[in-house]
């Protein structure tokens, strides 16, 4: 439970706020990560090789599937280093999921309004790919470890400590996104 709502409710409202579907597990994790940052909600995010990751969010997503609120579809997408196809898992609210999200939005009206606003800010800040959003999440996560104030070089320098590798152009793009989302300011 986070305050009076569950992490599952939070994720469900996240789906609703992002239009009912999210493409890929990475995109799901990073979008919910930014929502949690903006709402100051502790969803258990920690450093992981693919950026901030919360097992509680992953579990909530599984629960939403098992309750029949989410459809999952796998699609072949890209190839790995050996030329094998990598699958991507896309999620969308089912009819029951839409109805339940509507019910939860009414039940947690205050939370829903905040989630809705935060999702709008994230979307207006730029239509980032899963990879770009992941880099932005890594940059923000690293910044929080640097007490919230750092140069791009300092952030870049910290990245390898998490096992992350990000080049300067990517970091600048991430920084611009974070600035548009009002998560950071340039001084």
């Amino acid at each position: 439970m986070v305050n009076d709502y569950s992490i599952r409710d939070f994720v469900l409202l996240g789906y609703k706020a992002f239009g009912g579907s999210i493409r890929g597990k990475t995109m799901l994790q990073k979008r919910i990560y930014f929502l949690s940052v903006m709402l100051d909600a502790n969803l258990g995010y920690g450093a992981h090789y693919y950026g901030p990751y919360s097992s509680a969010v992953a579990a909530a997503n599984l629960d939403l599937k098992s309750l029949g609120y989410l459809d999952e579809s796998a699609s072949g997408w890209g190839v790995d280093h050996r030329g094998f196809e990598i699958a991507r898992y896309d999620y969308s609210l089912t009819g029951d999921g839409i109805a339940t999200a509507e019910f939860k939005a009414e039940k947690h009206a205050g939370l829903w309004k905040k989630v809705q606003n935060a999702a709008a800010v994230i979307q207006q800040a730029g239509d980032l790919s899963y990879m770009e959003l992941s880099i932005a999440a890594k940059a923000y996560f690293a910044l929080t470890r640097l007490k919230g104030k750092a140069t791009l070089d300092e952030i870049s320098g910290l990245m390898p400590q998490f096992g992350w590798s990000v080049d300067k152009d990517e970091l600048e793009k991430a920084s611009a996104f974070l600035e548009r989302a009002a998560l950071v300011t340039q001084q």
Partner: protein, 467 residues
């Protein structure tokens, strides 16, 4: 200190114990594990499943020792990991994990506020293990307070490098490596087999400068890991969530609940109403499966609710599954309520639903065969999850990682050709009803389930709509 010992084990061959380890095994607290069956009443399905926590713990110890060698742990870290493996299951009560449910229900949380703080509070059986480590005089004498504190920390949240914790708790921990092989061997199923040696050969430790040393597997170990994950999937489906196993587990917990609440059996209350006092653990370690069955199946308790259930377990007159459905297939209004129906906080709600379902079963002219005046006490609703095979490779800390030379690690799901090609059949949550009904053959069972389906669905819909 005793001389080093060697124990012959059907799974791992010879298990070697140092003098210190042999002395720990010889303690009364450790020997008690001989009386606690690993899989509770799974022997009612698989007659060979009579193995106990004792041999499993020796197996976990052995696998941990192998991993200490693989990872070249220092002597100090190796001792910590090996002793933690030896002590990790000491807090198990009668029927292993089944006792955990009863402990959660009857713990006196008002007296435990200081120990149940935070977002992720400890489970009650974990507190019992902590108490044992802190107070058992033999363990204190043999191991010493300082090391026992480190063991307690490693078992509960971690101590030192993360890789130490990975050996005792994690997606590839020694516990799973032993119980999959051991349970499949004793159940007589062939699903739990995997190449332990190859798995160990390909495990490695990768230094993460922020989070410390982490466990990963090299890409050459992916096939052994596939076997391991599939073993977990098959055993879960065929043994751990077998219909009859779920029924017997629920019968044990219900016998405890009724024994405490209806029959007012003081012995049961003392066994499960954990309050953190030293007397609790002193009493707790005197119990095992046999004493439970003898005490509460004793004829002096004839007529008591608890006694009827214990006798049913002893003579394999089990409750039957009269309804089962995926949660996603049930009316929307009741899904979330049913998903949480087995939580201690839902007890009142659960009781109401069981009474309502009893009424609809009786209204359908189905006979509930029990000596109890209120048959609803033996009608049990249950919800449980069946994890999708793809999700079996994950754990709380995230996915298993595969090391690929100097490249960034990838997830097992992406590295494994087999798992990448698996269909996306999701994790399923199911809801079931067990009741004291009789039938003679599968056809009668199907007829009964068909007859009760619509009335029970109606009761569930009403339940969802009510408050």
């Amino acid at each position: 200190m005793s001389e080093p010992r060697t124990v012959r084990d059907p799974i791992h061959g010879f298990i070697r114990l140092s003098g210190e380890e042999a002395d720990i095994v010889a303690t009364r607290t450790f020997q008690r594990l001989r009386g606690i069956r690993q899989l509770a009443f799974a022997n009612l399905i698989y007659p060979g499943a009579l193995h106990t926590r004792f041999e499993h713990t020796l197996g976990v110890f052995h696998v941990s020792s192998l991993l200490c060698d693989v990872f070249k742990f220092s002597a100090e870290d190796g001792r910590l990991v090996r002793l933690s493996a030896l002590l990790h299951d000491l807090g198990h009560g009668p029927f292993s994990h089944v006792s955990e449910g009863a402990l959660e229900i009857f713990a006196d949380r008002t007296k435990l506020a200081d120990r149940l703080k935070g977002d992720n509070p400890a489970k009650i059986h974990e507190l019992v293990t902590q108490d044992l480590l802190r107070t058992d005089p033999e363990l204190q004498r043999l191991i010493g307070r300082k090391m026992l504190e480190s063991i307690e920390a490693l078992l509960s949240h971690g101590y030192g490098e993360p890789v130490l914790r990975s050996v005792v708790s994690g997606p590839l921990d020694a516990d799973k490596q032993d119980y999959l092989l051991r349970d499949s061997y004793h159940c007589g199923v062939k699903y739990g087999i995997f190449d332990l040696q190859q798995l160990h050969r390909e495990l490695s430790v990768v230094e993460d400068r922020v989070d410390g040393k982490q466990l990963m597997i090299t890409s050459d170990g992916v096939h052994a890991l596939e076997q391991f994950v599939l073993a977990k999937h098959y055993l879960t489906a065929q043994v751990y969530t077998h219909r009859v196993r779920l029924i017997t587990d629920n019968m044990v917990v219900r016998s405890i609940v009724l024994g405490i609440e209806d029959d007012q059996i003081e012995e049961l209350k003392k066994l499960y109403a954990y309050d953190g006092r030293a007397e609790f653990v002193t009493n707790y370690v005197r119990w095992d499966d046999a004493r439970f069955m003898l005490s509460f199946g004793n004829d002096s308790l004839d007529g008591k609710s608890c006694h009827e259930l214990v006798q049913r377990l002893a003579h394999r007159r089990l409750l039957k599954q009269v309804f089962v459905e995926k949660l996603a297939g049930l009316p929307l209004s009741c899904r979330e309520k049913l998903e949480s129906i087995t939580k201690p906080s839902s007890r009142e709600r659960r009781r109401t639903l069981e009474q309502r379902i009893t009424e609809v079963i009786q209204a359908a002219d189905v006979n509930l065969t029990t000596k109890l005046a209120d048959p609803s006490k033996l009608v049990i609703v249950n919800s449980y999850k069946a994890k999708a095979v793809r999700e079996m490779s994950r754990n709380d800390e995230g996915p298993l990682l595969v090391r690929r030379g100097n490249d960034a690690p990838t997830t097992f799901e992406n590295e494994s050709d087999l798992f990448r090609s698996l269909s996306s059949e999701p994790t399923e949550a199911r809801f079931a009803v067990y009741a004291p009904v009789e039938y003679e053959n599968p056809a009668q069972r199907r007829d009964l389930q068909k007859k009760l389906r619509e009335p029970i669905l109606g009761a569930l819909e009403d339940f969802g709509n009510g408050e």
